[in-house]
């Protein structure tokens, strides 16, 4: 799908890092730095759906929060359409957020329980002073229809607790797209929902991309939904981006051991054997001798002790547009490793 569009970069993350300090102070053994994101390089192309896949705690949500600037990166640079937005403040930040919106993971928590649906969805319009209340209402009705809540007249004057989880998530999506943003960050929008709702949410997101031309960053822990929805995928492990490439390619021919482990972990319908396809995940973690080595060393079944434990792996162009961060791919020619 991405071939038909020109590869215009809309959002770029350059060497972005984010650290958290553990609670407590020096006397209680706290205050250690925890790396949530380590020197991430990413670029999102205009009009694509980019999937960021990783296990919980891998830093994928942090990455989304950095992009909408709920948090500030400690290092590196984020640019939107060439403009540096890393440390925006005040009015400029507000203007930036007109272009970049977010859908949160938990629809039960992301809507204010004391605010009606109409007011929740109109919030971005009100804060940005776009039109009068009647205009707001009109746009709210339209955008609720777009998000699949129709007839929207029945939903506007309700409180969140009167809606189901799927309906709430549609409201959250409606709120995110009411300003017609150019970039939408969707942080696991379906992880709290039934599978049947998930497919509908995916359709809405696809519709947002196709009809509004928005670029979507889709954060997920599920390879299956990433495959269903995304044009390109980035795999993130403990704050390190380890593989990136077109969705089909990454899933059919994963190169990085962690990506392979993720695909092994995907439940497969109707297959009785428990034998993993790749078997790259170590059952028990092995101790790492130094922190300088490969981030996946402790759990990688293929790792070579000297090489992987000691030095940080380099990026390899393993296939057209597909890159992976691994020592072991060094010798593999791009075509040979697809077996």
């Amino acid at each position: 799908m991405s071939e038909s569009r020109e590869h215009k970069t809309i959002l770029q993350l350059e060497q972005v890092s984010r650290f958290y300090r553990t609670r407590g102070n020096v006397f209680r053994g706290g205050g250690r730095l925890v790396v949530a994101l380590n020197k991430i390089n990413l670029s999102l192309r205009q009009g694509e759906i980019f999937g960021l896949v990783g296990e919980s705690g891998s830093g994928k949500t942090t990455c989304g929060r950095l992009i909408v600037r709920l948090e500030e990166p400690d290092e590196g640079r984020i640019t939107l359409g060439g403009e540096d937005i890393t440390h925006l403040k005040g009015k400029k930040l507000k203007d930036y957020r007109r272009q970049v919106q977010m859908v949160f993971q938990d629809p039960y928590q992301s809507l204010n329980p004391q605010v009606t649906i109409a007011d929740s969805v109109a919030e971005p319009l009100i804060t940005n002073k776009l039109g009068d209340p009647l205009d707001h209402l009109e746009r709210v009705l339209k955008v609720l229809d777009t998000a699949g809540l129709s007839p929207s007249e029945d939903y506007v004057y309700r409180f969140p607790h009167q809606l189901s989880g799927g309906q709430r998530q549609r409201v959250a999506i409606a709120r995110a797209i009411v300003l017609e943003p150019s970039l939408l960050v969707a942080d696991e929008p379906t992880s709290m929902l039934d599978a049947s709702y998930s497919a509908q949410i995916f359709e809405i997101l696809q519709g947002v991309r196709d009809n509004m031309g928005a670029t979507i960053m889709f954060i997920t822990h599920s390879m299956a939904s990433a495959r269903y929805l995304c044009d390109r995928i980035g795999v993130i492990y403990r704050g390190h981006l380890v593989e990136q490439g077109p969705a089909e390619q990454v899933i059919n021919a994963p190169q990085h051991p962690y990506t392979k482990a993720l695909i092994d972990a995907t439940p497969k319908f109707g297959r009785s054997s428990e034998v993993p396809t790749y078997g790259t995940l170590l059952a028990a973690e092995r101790p790492a001798t130094s922190s300088a080595g490969c981030p996946f060393f402790r759990r990688c079944a293929l790792a070579e002790r000297l090489l992987c434990a000691g030095t940080y792996p380099p990026w390899h162009d393993v296939a057209p547009e597909q890159v992976a961060l691994c020592h072991l791919l060094q010798d593999a020619a791009p075509a040979a490793s697809s077996g």
Binding site: F104, Q105, L111, E123, T127, L137, E153, R175
Partner: protein
């Protein structure tokens, strides 16, 4: 948009708020505490309203200045004076009615002021965090440990007789820390909720987040604490008045108790002693019961428990 759709939507909006109110009202009234508290309160409300009637019938029923010329000392209940008269011939029943008015005035205004102050401080401390939080909460701690009645007594001794509004102000100024602690805790937890992040992404300013997103969520709690504050304000005012530091220009229940005690009728005139005492107990009880029933409206987890028990 056509006018008709707008009309329909406006009707829906009204219906939503009405439905919400009715739901809460139903839960409230299903609770026996709520029913008793509400009816007691309605009774006291009627008393306060009716306090204007006796002086209109006859000037001798004026609670403060009206004296029955035929009476020289305290007499018991009669047709003329339903609850009897005090030592100089003033009607006790009309004093009791006037006392209800003062109790409401003191209770509600002191509670309102302390809750407004407590909520403002609590939300500021909780939302701003860091230094502001520490400073405000230490201040709250300092005021919280002061025994209100004692401090107000000392101030009254220092400045002579306090007017009723000064007393209200004092109570408000000394009773906000409890409210602010609770509101702060609530604000701290609300601040972490994703809908605040969502509001930030929507472009809401700090002020808008505080007033539009945090305040509606803490207001029910503040309102709940107001009912408990009313109770304590009434008790403090009654205590002050009984000890002789009340506003000499108002007839409050505490004042009536002081008169009984001071004139030595404490054990001779139960018709004079009991009514104000009972009224103070009942009005504090009714506000307390109101608060308990409201607690149930605000916290759905309490509902099943009551139904089972």
């Amino acid at each position: 948009m056509e006018n008709k759709t707008v009309q329909i939507l406006k009707a829906k909006r009204r219906a939503l708020w009405r439905q919400r109110f009715m739901e809460n009202w139903r839960v409230f009234m299903r609770n026996p505490l709520g029913r008793i508290g509400m009816s007691l309160l309605v009774m006291f409300g009627l008393m306060a309203v009716c306090s204007y009637i006796p002086p209109m019938i006859d000037p001798m029923y004026h609670p403060m200045t009206g004296v029955d010329p035929k009476v020289v000392s305290s007499v018991g209940p009669s047709w003329q004076h339903w609850l009897g008269t005090d030592f100089m011939g003033r009607d006790i029943f009309s004093q009791l009615l006037a006392g209800a008015r003062v109790a409401f005035l003191v209770g509600v205004s002191a509670a309102f002021m302390s809750v407004v102050l407590g909520t403002a401080v609590g939300m500021t401390a909780g939302y701003m965090g860091r230094f502001t939080d520490t400073a405000l909460m230490r201040l709250a701690d300092m005021i919280m440990v002061l025994p209100t009645l004692l401090v107000v007594l000392m101030l009254a001794a220092l400045f002579g007789q306090l007017s009723i509004w000064m007393i209200v102000l004092m109570i408000a100024l000394f009773r906000w820390p409890g409210v602010s602690r609770i509101i702060r805790a609530q604000t701290l937890s609300l601040k972490q909720r994703p809908f605040i992040d969502a509001a930030r992404v929507s472009g809401a300013s700090h002020l808008r987040i505080i007033f539009r997103h945090i305040m509606p969520n803490v207001l029910p709690l503040a309102f709940l604490y107001m009912t408990f504050r009313v109770t304590s304000a009434i008790v403090i005012e009654a205590g002050l008045a009984f000890l002789g530091f009340g506003d000499p220009g108002t007839v409050s229940w505490g004042m009536m108790l002081q008169w009984v005690w001071k004139t030595g009728y404490m054990f001779q005139a139960p018709y004079w002693l009991l009514p104000p005492g009972i009224c103070i107990s009942l009005i504090t009880l009714s506000f307390y019961m109101l608060g308990r029933a409201m607690d149930e409206v605000l916290d759905p987890r309490l509902r099943d428990e009551t139904q089972a028990g």
